[in-house]
């Protein structure tokens, strides 16, 4: 067998099983290799992003009480499962179908028709895979904020609709050739597209649901409701940090891009700075370094750098991370004590607030076009327009969807169910059958 014929290689024995034409049967070329590198990179990144799902699941589970752990797990499994199907059927078409007036895509439902207008070199499936895991990320953010009290069925319906419509519309605006893309908004890997969308939807959900029983005393003071497994929550954060390399670096959708190294460094160092920022702030403010804030801080740094990971330099990434780390703790306190919106895991602050913050910071710190680098205020302005537009759309759409669900079937479990826990009442089981659970 000659070296040259690598495309008819593989394992001869397995060849029977490979039913389709290989890449370029006429032989390897620099072009076909470059396409392969891009495809391999994009897929591996997609796998990493998919792995963020258990990251979210663990953070959310760890930050809430043991009696609701199986329920939150179930929500996380199902938003990814249902989301994968619905994004395949509807979401992708809205996001990347042929553009209508810069507002929405409207071709390719069920992956039918052509996606030639995307100008992809590799098969559309590679791109679909990558976009599916992004869509699922947006959906999964919501579950944390509405945890411990939302009905399972109601949650599922919202989850399907955010993946089918609410998120893809924003995605179309910014990544699908829509009006914000035309304005030149920079949201490289989705601080706004993915995280703020999830965060603002979470805000609406948590607001409409109201706080958990016992969260506020009669005199309105917020109580601490400690999470049941900080070890697992931390594992979740590490998994997210790991998966985020796929999220940000993979957003080049190209392994031949020379930017991937810088993006990785920026991503990592912003997360690091976020953890440091939150830890120091909580240490000073509460006399002890707070573990859950530090964990939130790392995520805040990651969310913050997502928009600008390919536009800023590492110093910029450190600044974004540090500030996001502080911002997230301030924001959690603000929601808790001032707005009285009960978000058990800090999802609104981490994803909504820090997503918007990170997107805005690109306007200041982008090496190419940022205000601090002499690029003037125009990029900053564009960013702010984008942030505001997405905020308005998501809040309005979520109000309609959550509101309709509330009207039709109710959002919240009964008081008794909430006290007894969603695990036993919604799923007939306990997550930790063998352990004594403290009351």
């Amino acid at each position: 067998m000659k070296r040259k014929n690598i495309f008819i290689l593989g394992i001869a024995l397995l060849m029977v099983l490979i039913p389709r034409a290989v890449w370029a049967s006429e032989g390897a070329s620099p072009e076909s290799n470059a396409i392969a590198i891009d495809a391999v990179w994009t897929l591996l990144a997609a796998f990493l992003v998919m792995f963020m799902q258990p990251g979210f699941a663990l953070v959310e589970a760890g930050f809430i009480r043991a009696k609701n752990a199986a329920n939150i797990i179930m929500k996380n499994v199902m938003d990814f499962a249902a989301g994968s199907i619905v994004y395949f059927l509807i979401g992708f078409a809205i996001m990347f179908g042929i553009d209508k007036a810069g507002i929405i895509g409207l071709s390719g439902f069920g992956m039918s028709g052509t996606f030639e207008h995307l100008g992809l070199s590799f098969p559309i499936w590679v791109f679909l895979m990558f976009q599916t895991v992004f869509a699922a990320t947006a959906a999964t953010i919501v579950s944390g904020a509405v945890a411990e009290r939302i009905k399972f069925g109601s949650y599922l319906i919202f989850s399907v609709l955010i993946t089918a419509v609410i998120y893809p519309v924003v995605g179309h605006w910014i990544w699908g050739g829509g009006w914000l893309a035309s304005l030149g908004m920079i949201d490289f890997a989705g601080s706004t597209v993915v995280h703020s969308v999830g965060g603002w939807a979470a805000l609406v959900g948590a607001f409409l649901l109201g706080p958990r029983l016992g969260k506020y005393s009669k005199d309105g003071k917020a109580a601490a409701i400690p999470g049941h497994n900080i070890t697992l929550a931390a594992l979740g954060v590490f998994i997210l940090w790991f998966g985020w390399f796929g999220f940000n670096c993979g957003s080049t959708v190209s392994g031949t891009s020379p930017d991937i190294g810088l993006i990785a460094v920026n991503t990592n160092i912003a997360a690091a700075a976020g953890a440091v920022g939150a830890m120091l702030y909580s240490w000073i403010k509460y006399r002890k370094p707070d573990v859950t804030f530090t964990l939130n801080g790392a995520l805040a740094g990651l969310v913050g750098i997502t928009a600008g990971c390919a536009s800023v330099n590492p110093m910029g990434a450190i600044i974004i991370g540090l500030l996001a780390g502080v911002l997230v703790t301030v924001s959690v306190q603000f929601l808790d004590n001032k707005l009285r919106i009960d978000d058990p895991v800090g999802a609104i602050s981490v994803h909504g607030v820090c997503g918007a913050f990170g997107t805005a910071m690109v306007g200041l710190l982008a090496v190419d076009g940022g205000l601090f680098y002499g690029g003037g205020a125009s990029l900053l302005l564009t960013q702010i327009i984008g942030i505001a537009a997405v905020f308005v759309w998501v809040i309005v759409a979520s109000f309609i969807v959550f509101g309709a669900i509330k009207a039709v079937m109710g959002l919240r479990v009964s008081e008794e169910e909430e006290l007894g826990g969603l695990d036993i009442n919604e799923h007939g089981m306990n997550a930790y059958a063998d352990f004594m659970i403290k009351s």
Binding site: G214, I424, G428, M429, I437, S439
Partner: protein, 112 residues
């Protein structure tokens, strides 16, 4: 002296604790138990298999106190922990012969 043992709904404990404190009762020992009185079994399914749940999570509170405080404490418990539904719990009262505070060696009423 008596020992009051109350088995209550876990969700009621915080309020009870605060109320007891306002009455000057801080000494107490608590732990989780599983129990049942006349409360009905509940049928659950786990992996499709029927599961009779006939023990429910409760919180037990033990309070050692002088005889004359018993009534007040019992009243407080009834007030706060009563929803009127089966499953509210029960109070048991036992004779308590001697109490010793370990840190000082004080005994009985001085030790409470």
């Amino acid at each position: 002296m008596k020992k009051i043992e109350a088995v209550i709904r876990p969700g009621r404990f915080e309020e009870l604790k605060v109320a007891l404190k306002t009455q000057g009762v801080t000494g107490m020992t608590t732990y989780n138990v599983m129990g049942r009185g006349k409360q009905q079994e509940v049928k659950q399914y786990y992996r499709g298999q029927e599961l009779q749940v006939d023990l429910f999570p409760k919180l037990k509170i033990e309070i050692g106190c002088p005889d004359e405080q018993v009534e007040k404490i019992v009243q407080l418990i009834l007030e706060i922990c009563k929803t009127g539904q089966i499953g509210d719990g029960k109070i048991f009262i036992y004779p308590l012969e001697e109490v010793i505070r370990i840190s000082s060696g004080e005994k009985n009423l001085d030790a409470l």
